[in-house]
Amino acid sequence: MTTRRPPRLALAVLDRWLPDSSPLAGDLTEEFERGRSRRWFWWQVLAALGIAAFRRSDEIRPLRLVDLQPVDAQERSRRRLLRFEPVPLTGTGLPGIGGLGVVALALLVTLLAPVLWFALVASMLAGIALGVVIIAWHRRRAG
């Protein structure tokens, strides 16, 4: 008997973006082994990510007419205060170029095509000049 392997990339995405999703990943794997399609698997993973993105994990939403706050409200508030966003310094992360990446890019431009710096400064000055012209034009129309 051959066992089907669930999409590894989907599981990696789930593990990466939903750290506490091990039971969910297990449920999805169990359903996949029972015959669900890869498309269904991916749809469930993307939906879970979407739901998590729109749901504040530390949200304290009492049900209607609830007279008591959740038992772990204080702990969740404390964790929220301690939470900080990591800053990528190596420039290797896919979501964006980090600090070292920007420095490396600047060095490359300086060494290989220094004329691009002049183009950058010229475009900045042109942008400023254009902005001044637009503001002056609007003031003249308003007056």
Partner: protein, 110 residues
């Protein structure tokens, strides 16, 4: 005052968990709602609701043993707490009270 009323999805989840007893975990709860309740369920939405219910003390959860058919991941079993049971009863009472005295709902379709 102080009565807890549930949303329709939360009510379905609690009822499914009560029906399943000791076998109430994510997939089974979703399957019960789909097969008996006739509502499609995203597993992510079910877990989001279960997390919320647990934070409000209406369910509790325990982690089972990892199994190979789940890729070495454990099941998370849910159990309705006495407070959750009270919330289900209160919600049912509120719905039944609202149901009564509505003429449009008293006629049965053939």
């Amino acid at each position: 005052m102080g009565r807890q009323l549930l949303t329709d999805f939360e009510l379905m989840i609690l009822l499914a968990a009560l029906r399943l007893g000791d076998e109430a975990y994510g997939v089974q709860i979703a399957r019960q709602i789909e097969e008996i309740g006739g509502r499609r369920v995203l597993l992510g939405a079910a877990y989001a609701a279960l997390d919320r219910l647990e934070a409000n003390g209406l369910v509790s959860s325990t982690i089972g043993n990892p199994t190979s058919e789940r890729g070495g991941r454990a099941r998370r079993y849910f159990r309705v707490t006495p407070r959750g049971l009270r919330a289900v009863r209160h919600t049912r009472d509120a719905l039944v009270a609202l149901w009564q005295g509505v003429p449009q709902l008293e006629e049965r379709s053939p």
